[in-house]
Symmetry: C4
Subunit: 432 residues, 4 copies
Amino acid sequence: MPVEGRPRWQKGESYRVPLPVEGRPRWQKGEIAGTSIGRECHEVIMNAVTFNKENVNSFHHAVSSEIVTAQCFGLLPVLGITAPNAASLRFRWCSFRTMFSIFMLLGAGLNTCFAVVIMQSGISFKQSDGVVFFGTVTVTYMLFLQLARQWPNLAVEWENLEISQKHYGYPRRLRLKIMIVTTVVLTGALVEHALSKSSQIAVAAACTDNVTDMFHHYFTKTGTYNQIFAVMDYSFATATLALINNFIATFTWNFTDLFIILVSLALTERFRLFNEYLVSFRGKVLPGSFWAQIREEYNSLSHLTRTLDSCISKIVLVSFGSNLYFICRQLLNSLSPLGGIINTVYFCWSFGFVLFRTVTLSLYAASIYDESLKPKRVLYDVPPESYHLEVSRFLNQIVTDTVALSGMNFFYITRTLLLTVSALHLTLSTAV
Amino acid sequence: MPVEGRPRWQKGESYRVPLPVEGRPRWQKGEIAGTSIGRECHEVIMNAVTFNKENVNSFHHAVSSEIVTAQCFGLLPVLGITAPNAASLRFRWCSFRTMFSIFMLLGAGLNTCFAVVIMQSGISFKQSDGVVFFGTVTVTYMLFLQLARQWPNLAVEWENLEISQKHYGYPRRLRLKIMIVTTVVLTGALVEHALSKSSQIAVAAACTDNVTDMFHHYFTKTGTYNQIFAVMDYSFATATLALINNFIATFTWNFTDLFIILVSLALTERFRLFNEYLVSFRGKVLPGSFWAQIREEYNSLSHLTRTLDSCISKIVLVSFGSNLYFICRQLLNSLSPLGGIINTVYFCWSFGFVLFRTVTLSLYAASIYDESLKPKRVLYDVPPESYHLEVSRFLNQIVTDTVALSGMNFFYITRTLLLTVSALHLTLSTAV
Amino acid sequence: MPVEGRPRWQKGESYRVPLPVEGRPRWQKGEIAGTSIGRECHEVIMNAVTFNKENVNSFHHAVSSEIVTAQCFGLLPVLGITAPNAASLRFRWCSFRTMFSIFMLLGAGLNTCFAVVIMQSGISFKQSDGVVFFGTVTVTYMLFLQLARQWPNLAVEWENLEISQKHYGYPRRLRLKIMIVTTVVLTGALVEHALSKSSQIAVAAACTDNVTDMFHHYFTKTGTYNQIFAVMDYSFATATLALINNFIATFTWNFTDLFIILVSLALTERFRLFNEYLVSFRGKVLPGSFWAQIREEYNSLSHLTRTLDSCISKIVLVSFGSNLYFICRQLLNSLSPLGGIINTVYFCWSFGFVLFRTVTLSLYAASIYDESLKPKRVLYDVPPESYHLEVSRFLNQIVTDTVALSGMNFFYITRTLLLTVSALHLTLSTAV
Amino acid sequence: MPVEGRPRWQKGESYRVPLPVEGRPRWQKGEIAGTSIGRECHEVIMNAVTFNKENVNSFHHAVSSEIVTAQCFGLLPVLGITAPNAASLRFRWCSFRTMFSIFMLLGAGLNTCFAVVIMQSGISFKQSDGVVFFGTVTVTYMLFLQLARQWPNLAVEWENLEISQKHYGYPRRLRLKIMIVTTVVLTGALVEHALSKSSQIAVAAACTDNVTDMFHHYFTKTGTYNQIFAVMDYSFATATLALINNFIATFTWNFTDLFIILVSLALTERFRLFNEYLVSFRGKVLPGSFWAQIREEYNSLSHLTRTLDSCISKIVLVSFGSNLYFICRQLLNSLSPLGGIINTVYFCWSFGFVLFRTVTLSLYAASIYDESLKPKRVLYDVPPESYHLEVSRFLNQIVTDTVALSGMNFFYITRTLLLTVSALHLTLSTAV
């Protein structure tokens, strides 16, 4: 082992002091000079970071508009989303947003209770749908409330990582990608919601000839509001409330998946930046200190993944569970005959969209794991002269650590998981 | 390796009881003196340990009251449970407790035979329940008898570990936690037992109008005692015996799961103490001898897990098997219509409780494995200057060794197992 | 490191062409000169390689006739397949072959549309067959078009590897083996195609007594062309077109599997050459530089596998998916009674052949993985005196890297996969 | 790393020369002196090995009587089974045993053909039983013939290992254990065979009142000989032949499993000897040369396992496949009502016995894997002063190499496999 190389960088006590750039003439000096900014002094630096053009692609800014949208529906009630940096983020119990969020949570909870009440008068799969749907939404509100309390810390850790790895720059067009994904998913959800309403109104219209009766019938019988009107009387006010209620619940249900996709995308992009940088050193002779540095940067990324996972793993579990349930339901529905074009279109779109959302979610989340494994290949190409203890540590860390999002550690989201779940679906659907 | 770096850190950075530095010279002296405070001389040291306040949370004392309860039902017949230290524990074949235990075992065995006899007159699932239930109880009695013989050694090994790792202290509020878990599980079991009796008496009451007839009918037809009264005549004495018998069997069945939960909890707490201590050194520059010491302490914990596993892995297998069977049974029951409120409440509680118990058991047992992996993350954060052969050995050991409870090595209890078993349940229940 | 030990072994222990020892000094000189014979200067070297007898077994030449055959059906439209070396390979959008390929793709796409149209008039499994079959063929055409663009780079990388590892020679009889496999698979496919037509004509003959009517009936009702004649009128020209169309689609469907088998075979043979060479050094004392060299050669092979995988992993996924579908279909078919001898023979052959193809494909592809693990065993036999950091790196690489073909990283093709898929089939077929 | 320790043993060119015993004063000199006998000189030594008392437990002698028994039924036709050492073993095509074996193979093949013929006249599960049963037996004969050719090499490799590891002694009571297992399995098989005949004769007796008619009926209708008498006429000679034929086939079917159990047992015992020896050094300070030596001995055991696996892995695959089939069949049988006591007893015994055999086989074979992992634990206990590169290599080898019997590399026989197969059985049986 290159013990003789050691004195060069044992001089400074801490290993976070600037790299001995003078000791590495083989590559361009300025290239990784930015890395000398460690975690310790970020407090000072952060204030100096101004909202410049690059920052648009920082995590805090890239997801801000999506979070603002979510807040309109009572999700993730944190203050300071539009502030120039993550350090301004705050969670307060006695803020308007939190109050609104709790109000929405109570509303969803009430709906779940209604659905449970109606289910008792006769168990059927249709009613159990209502319980699962509103139950999921209620739990989602709770989990996002919990996440809101952890969000400031998470965003600050992420921002610090971005600053300490500023020499990689910010992911290119991250904000744009996030906006495109958001648009696609929310539009799909909107279409599905509209088709759902249309098909239910069509059924109601077939039963009656009067428009008022039709709406009455729609709200109390064919719509997904029957759990409300089984308990309350029908009136224009309650109907409107039910409509809004249902719209919000649908948004929340879709936003859960979207949210996981977005943070996965943002994290994957950071891993990609890291990998691109690393690949540029493929096969070159580099000092041990370089590998020590690069391993610690990987370690920071892996820390961030772990923090993120600890924040959202419950949401991931709920999301996978509900998607599994609704895909099974749709498969069951597909066995009964479909009447009318609207119904057929609705069924196809609804089934296709839930599949699309689940697969997209899985692939985006799995890409974190895929990217986290890629440095391995560069390490295999390290020439023997340049092989160093830290290279072996790096490889060891990649291989022994699972850097991925998980569902409360019950499963890690990888491509293999998607295959396993598909096989399970196939088995369940043929057995049913 | 930077042994010269040691003084820097020995001066009192750690907030816990300083490591027995004066005890360190043994590294240079003896061969394996590092563990000499461990197994070799424990006989001497143990007498010096007095029943002080901390000791309440030692394993031996924390589980003592639960074991005494179990002994009232003939389980785990060891002597000296209430003694001040584990060295006083003894197993004797010719003690009253052992005799009582064997008596209970024979009783359970007799019940199983009755259940087999009654089953021959016509196989049905209801009767196979009796065979499985009493068979499980009989096997449980045998396994606890076997465990009683190994218990003294296990408790002594555990106590020695507690003494040799005294600088970590004892788990905070271990005894309290154990009591809470015990209360929750046993109360749930009691409610289930009561509901079961109520629902059966309700059926009996519906058939007759006379109270005596009702009890007669209850014991010989609707109760779970029919295996007895198919062989013996009905009398007040036999009825009382059958009642007690059934109560004891139910307790035993529930205690098996509880027992696994308790020892898992106690062991997890020890791993947590270790991890908390280790985390306090995250990122610091430490000498190799520190890592050697810490690795050996981890190794002791892993040894203890292995010893515990070898003692209880058969009980774990029986517990998982019977829970799997009864969950499948309840799923099958759920297909047939439920009559009456008592029946519905009983079914829901019974199903919910067996699910709760199984999931709780799995999660508590899996937490050993989860905790055993956590030191990994501290090792990734070891700075390059402090990296030492022993750090690499430690990481290697964590990664290559599976420190977890197992079902006779057929499976290790991890969170993934819970998921796999759920998928199996799902498949089986849709297929049936 | 025991570099001084080198002369002992260079004196001619090896029975193969001695390693290019004169090329070795580059280790000390350049940065990554070890691979400099590899990618950097291949442009120059390649022209010097003449079409000598050995070259017949080089990858480029061994698969050339199969690719030419495929090009007759519009697959893999690259130019320069018969050129003396891989550097002459080119892909051009505006070449005749590419145009032909796109024409075939459009034809297959049209057929899929026809099949979708006919399916809408009533969903049945028979019609869904048509959609899946022509859908698969269409996607296959697209994927081969995409592959054609990557083929020149792949072939050049492969040729460079062959040149840089020229001391291993070329795989013995590779071209012969490839021709045998091709003949077996294509003959089997031809027999199946003929039997399929015969059984359909037999059904048509049973319905009518006139020969013209019979053909008319065959094309419009019993044949697999009904999707065409549901849209177009029947005429001699369209019937002929339909026949050719169907023949080409069947060829394409079979060629996909064959193609994966062929490249797997060729790659496996390269791993075998490497392993044979390595085994000849089993247990010998060798210098570290030898191990560095051998590890880099293994690394090149693993690089090539990765490149190949990135090129064909989509094709692999489509192939596995369609085989899974058609085996399930045949299992379902086997439940309905078979009428007549021709039908029985056709069913048996068809089912047997799809099984044979799938298993053969899996085994050939899995053999890459099997061979990639074999060097491990030689490394365990390295004597302690000869143990070197590079040996440990080599072992580490073998163990931590999965060198195998994959289905878009969803699964790696190993023997275990075949077993898992069989278990899934078994479960699905008993459940249905 | 103890580079200074190296010159001591670099003196001899080969690492197989006697260990520098004088360099290891810390443990008794004679203790492992026997290990100096390497593989190179076994040719000479072998002749010196006389048939002494210890040798009774050597592999060659321990399994000899079982192999002789097998040869009576035409299995494993090697010459020299009773010779004093394995070097006398020979396989010859033109020996009586081989001829007899081929004769039996042809007989079994003929039976399979008969069974296929009869099945064509109407497919039913009962007939498919005959095809699977005789097909399995035929394939088994072929595989044992193939094994006979490899047996001499295998036995010699095993004997050499025993000689080179003579300091461990021979497994205690190996021959006795083998005889006990053989007796238990063959007795169970005999009882099953007798019960099978009894139940079939009972059915025949119920149909007729004449004894001759009864036998006639038995042989042509109710027995498992119908495939013969569907082709040939019934006569006393053919009936006797059919009886013998069936008996031999049943023996062969059972012997396959027994054989795998026996070799697994013998190999496990060798691993146990090794582990016992290794455990006696737990926690001691030992030189690197000791670890090099012990690792090579482990390596030899792992080599032997690999050789054994390559010889019998096909037999293992056939055995697992046929057991899987017959357990599924019995589960299906259990659904149809059982008539009469003999039938019930036969069914219970038959089902219980096939389960017992499969589980025993799995557990014995899995114990090789279990034992191969045990040295790991001793290596974790190696004190830091004694830690050596070879210790790390040893641990690495244990962890990265799978030392177990396999079914043609499709699966390795471990305890987990048994669980997986059980889950598959459960799923299949509930789905059917």
